[in-house]
């Protein structure tokens, strides 16, 4: 009898936990969010990843997501212009670290401590912006049909060997903001002197310059240029579609963080809060990781070989003056 009662208790407990939401969410907030009806998000999260996440919002909270997708700079431009003009449309802004910090300083965000935030590691929580839910990691990606693994570079320094001259494509560091930031932060990986020499040697290799990180990855996928400095996640995204891509295991990889915050003038504040709670939940983090994203939750990794061994190093935050100076400096090094 006691055994039966123990089994019944165990079954009952398991049933309760299996139906409980994987994220902390108060029912009253969900009810208020439903009253708001929808949530408006401005962000630079890629469409397919966003679709997968927003599907979860619809299923778990029952609200629609109106998403405006643009580059980080354009997201900031629009959100700030509307905010300054007193015509707020957006509830949630979701983009890279640097523009988020600028918007924070302009007073665009309301303080909201999501219960889901507690599950993130302490080092991934920014005092102004909250949890850094994902890292966008930049590395060396190559086409394994053209370059055999044994012949592939083994480190960043290898890229400047004569063997790889004319075989490398990088986003133009004088135009592409994230690449400017990446080049400027190289000293975090190799120290000041080595980094300065590496940058000059890299420019002397006359790499093919393209507009941004995506065209760089595309050129590797098409085989037009075999090696690129680009996002590591493209190995998975293009690999899923059949592209023969792999990445160099550098150990430490630099990248940028992504955050999401509630607008101080959000027209749908409760829907915005409920959105943040769900978005930061373990449930959604798994969805994002499955789509190839490096999320900041222990034990949740994208389906990329050796993803768990990647050590993330956050790039420097540069202000507008530093960006202008660096772009000018790289113009001299890379274009002359």
């Amino acid at each position: 009898m006691l055994r039966k009662a123990q089994l019944a208790f165990a079954f009952f407990t398991a049933a309760i936990f299996s139906t409980a939401p994987l994220y902390s969410q108060s029912p009253s907030l969900i009810a208020a969010a439903k009253k708001d009806g929808k949530v408006v998000v401005y962000g630079s999260l890629e469409s397919d990843v966003a679709d997968a996440a927003f599907k979860g919002v619809k299923n778990k909270i029952g609200i629609d997501v109106d998403y405006w997708r643009a580059s980080a700079t354009k997201v900031m431009d629009r959100a700030l212009s509307e905010f300054r003009a007193g015509k707020p449309v957006v509830d949630i802004v979701l983009t890279n670290d640097n523009p988020m910090q600028i918007m924070f300083k302009e007073g665009l965000f309301a303080k909201y401590d999501s219960p889901s935030a507690k599950d993130f590691p302490k080092e991934a929580i920014d005092p102004n912006l909250g949890p850094r839910y994902r890292n966008v990691i930049i590395g060396v990606v190559y086409n394994k049909d053209i370059i055999k693994a044994a012949d592939a570079p083994k480190s960043l320094e290898d890229l400047v060997k004569p063997l790889y001259r004319g075989k490398l494509v990088i986003p133009d560091p004088t135009q592409h903001t994230t690449t400017t930031q990446w080049v400027a932060s190289l000293d975090k990986l190799m120290g000041k002197e080595k980094a300065a020499k590496f940058i000059r040697d890299l420019a002397a290799q006359k790499p093919i310059l393209v507009e941004s990180l995506l065209p760089a990855a595309e050129r590797v996928a098409t085989g037009e240029t075999p090696i690129a400095i680009t996002y590591v996640k493209y190995v998975y995204i293009y690999g899923q579609r059949g592209a023969p891509l792999d990445y160099v295991r550098l150990g430490k990889f630099m990248g940028d963080g992504h955050y999401l915050d509630l607008s101080a003038k959000a027209p749908h504040p409760n829907a915005g809060k409920a959105f943040i709670d769900y978005f930061l939940s373990a449930d959604n983090m798994k969805t994002l990781a499955k789509a190839g994203e490096f999320v900041n939750r222990k034990g949740i990794y994208p389906p990329i070989p050796d993803a768990d061994k990647i050590q993330f190093v956050e790039m420097y935050d540069l202000d507008s003056k530093a960006f202008a100076e660096k772009k000018k400096e790289y113009q001299q090094i890379f274009l002359h």
Partner: protein
């Protein structure tokens, strides 16, 4: 008091009375009210967002934030010695691309409209197709075909002729000019073709009677007659090339060729955060260049009477019998269409059935997929975007053409003081780089007293503001050719301005109006630079959807949507051509 003194004494009151009478007479004319309305609408549409950009170029804070007056932006933008070689590069690029597009367009228009070359009607219909394709896709297609590493055409040469290396390199100034000219050709074709269709053949027949051969007629009569249209197309395409960023970003950047727009991007629009003030300042520079070209255009077309060829007499455009050469002419037109339409469309089709964007190998053929078309077919977001864009394109093009017809009538046919202002006003917003103008529109309308921000109407206003010049050029080049005798006959018969405009001028201008309408529909269906900043989330048109998919590397989906847009546009074009009754005109 002498007579002179008396005259001086009474002069002020007499002058005032005389002025009042003149004003009364002016206001009693329906045409005057049309002029006031047109200049009011055009002036508002163009000056309101432009004001914000000018203001931005003279302040030190982002627009929307109170700043201090400064000339620092102008000093920074134009004291940089590096800016001038880049301007020269842009000039060479613009001149080369617009010149080559005119050569392509004239050849194609002449063969399809004025000769008896076989299949000319099919050629005519397909010549407009590239205008439908997003320019970025055309550039990418040509990179796939002509890149020196593994371009398909280069590969073919290497394989067939045993060459060590392919003969073409897209990453060069000639490559850049070539691709941009292909993108610009349809616009020039539509304008020149409309003018060729509206031309009175009697002048050509007279020249022939006087002993001139076909070549002489073409050189001495036909081309001088369509000169306004050629200049209009050349002006539009030059400015369009100079302000284009997409093609230089894809082709010039790997070639390490810098043009002015890449500098604007690096220092202003692409800087972090966006330097609105500097972007506006560079925009003002491009505006000045554009206005110089508008002035030149007006100078060339000022002697309107010289170009009047649509008279009261009924006519059909004279068709030149090419004899045995007609097949060669068809061959030439076909070659141009292969470059303009077939090759980019084939690449687009290929990309639409590839699982990911790459140069095909034997392995590729086993992996072809219809997933991208399935996405178009099954995704509600795509369906909504098609519905939004169709509404915006049809409504936007129609409003533009109504305004353009009235504006071009006033500028070309009347002597109203201030009429040339309309031309300049229309051109202002168009001369700014797309993204700079989009920012101006955002700032102008985000704080607009009437609550249209965040609705579909604001996009419609933006379209009319930005694309009115296309309509205006298309109609102006036709209206210049319509002789005044038809209007005079209508007035003599007792018709007022509106009746004459509706019953005489509109039918005579129909080729130009329909050409402009087609250009606009095809552009508006895929427009994104202004739309991106203005559409409200949840009411997404096709342009932003294509842009986002492109941004996320989903070339296959972009290509599949691009192909569906092409089919829709071809149906619209066929309908418009039929309606315009070009053949019967």
């Amino acid at each position: 008091m002498s007579a002179d003194e008396r005259a001086l004494t009474v002069a002020p009151s007499t002058t005032t009375a005389w002025n009042r009478t003149r004003l009364g007479a002016f206001l009693s004319q329906p045409l005057s009210w049309v002029f006031i309305s047109v200049i009011g609408i055009v002036g508002f549409l163009s000056l309101y967002p432009t004001f914000f950009l000018f203001y931005g170029s003279l302040t030190d804070a982002p627009l929307g934030v109170p700043g201090h007056f400064t000339l620092g932006n102008y000093i920074r933008a134009y004291s940089d010695p590096e800016a001038y070689p880049l301007l020269l590069n842009s000039f060479i690029f613009g001149l080369g691309a617009s010149g080559l597009s005119l050569v392509f367009a004239l050849t194609l228009a002449w063969i399809t409209i004025r000769t008896n070359a076989p299949f000319r009607r099919i050629f005519e219909l397909t010549a407009i197709v590239p205008n439908i394709l997003p320019p970025i896709l055309v550039s990418i297609s040509w990179v796939m075909l002509l890149n020196p590493s593994n371009g398909l055409i280069n590969g073919l040469f290497v394989k067939l002729l045993g060459m060590e290396k392919g003969p073409f390199n897209i990453y060069s100034m000639p490559g850049l000019i070539f691709v941009e000219s292909l993108i610009l050709t349809p616009l020039a074709f539509l304008i020149v073709a409309a003018a060729l269709k509206s031309m009175d053949p009697s002048l050509e027949e007279s020249a022939k009677t006087l002993g001139s051969n076909e070549f002489g007629v073409m050189r001495r009569v036909t081309f001088p007659l369509i000169r306004p249209a050629i200049l209009a197309a050349g002006t539009l395409n030059f400015v369009r090339a100079v302000e284009s960023f997409d093609t230089p970003a894809i082709i010039a950047l790997p070639a390490r060729i810098e043009v002015f727009t890449t500098k604007i991007w690096r220092e202003a629009l692409g800087s972090f955060p966006t330097n609105h003030n500097l972007a506006a300042t560079y925009g003002v520079g491009i505006l000045v260049i554009a206005l110089i070209f508008v002035y030149l255009y007006r100078h060339f077309t000022s002697q309107v009477e010289n170009f009047s060829t649509v008279t009261g007499k009924g006519f059909r455009p004279h068709q030149i019998d090419l004899g045995r050469w007609r097949f060669a002419a068809s061959g030439l037109a076909l070659l141009l269409l292969v470059l303009l339409v077939l090759l980019p469309l084939l690449v687009l089709l290929l990309v639409a059935v590839l699982p990911y964007y790459h140069v095909p190998t034997w392995r590729t053929w086993h992996n072809l997929t219809l997933d991208h078309f399935r996405y178009v077919w099954t995704t509600p977001r795509v369906h909504r975007a098609f519905a939004n864009s169709l509404f915006l394109a049809l409504a936007g093009a129609s409003v533009c053409m109504i305004l353009a017809s009235l504006a071009s009538y006033i500028t070309v046919r009347t002597k109203i003081v201030g009429r040339s202002l309309i031309d300049g006003l229309v051109f202002i917003p168009w001369a700014f780089p797309g993204t700079a103008m989009a920012l101006g529109l955002l700032w102008a309308y985000v704080d607009f007293p009437i609550p249209i921000y965040g609705t579909i109407w604001i996009i419609l206003i933006a379209y009319v503001t930005r694309f009115l010049p296309y309509g205006l050029r298309a109609v102006s080049s036709t209206i210049i050719q319509v002789h005044k005798e038809l209007e005079e006959a209508s007035v003599v018969c007792g018709a007022g301005f509106l009746a004459t405009f509706r019953r005489v001028l509109i039918p005579m201008m129909r080729p130009g109006v329909m050409a402009g309408w087609i250009i606009l529909v095809t552009i508006l269906l895929r427009e994104f630079s202004a739309t991106l900043f203005l559409y409200s989330p949840g009411a997404e048109p096709l342009g932003p959807l294509l842009y986002f998919l492109y941004l996320d590397g989903m070339r296959g989906r972009v290509a599949a949507i691009g192909l569906v847009i092409s089919v829709i546009s071809i149906i619209l074009i066929a309908f418009a051509q039929r309606y315009s009754r070009w053949e019967t005109n």
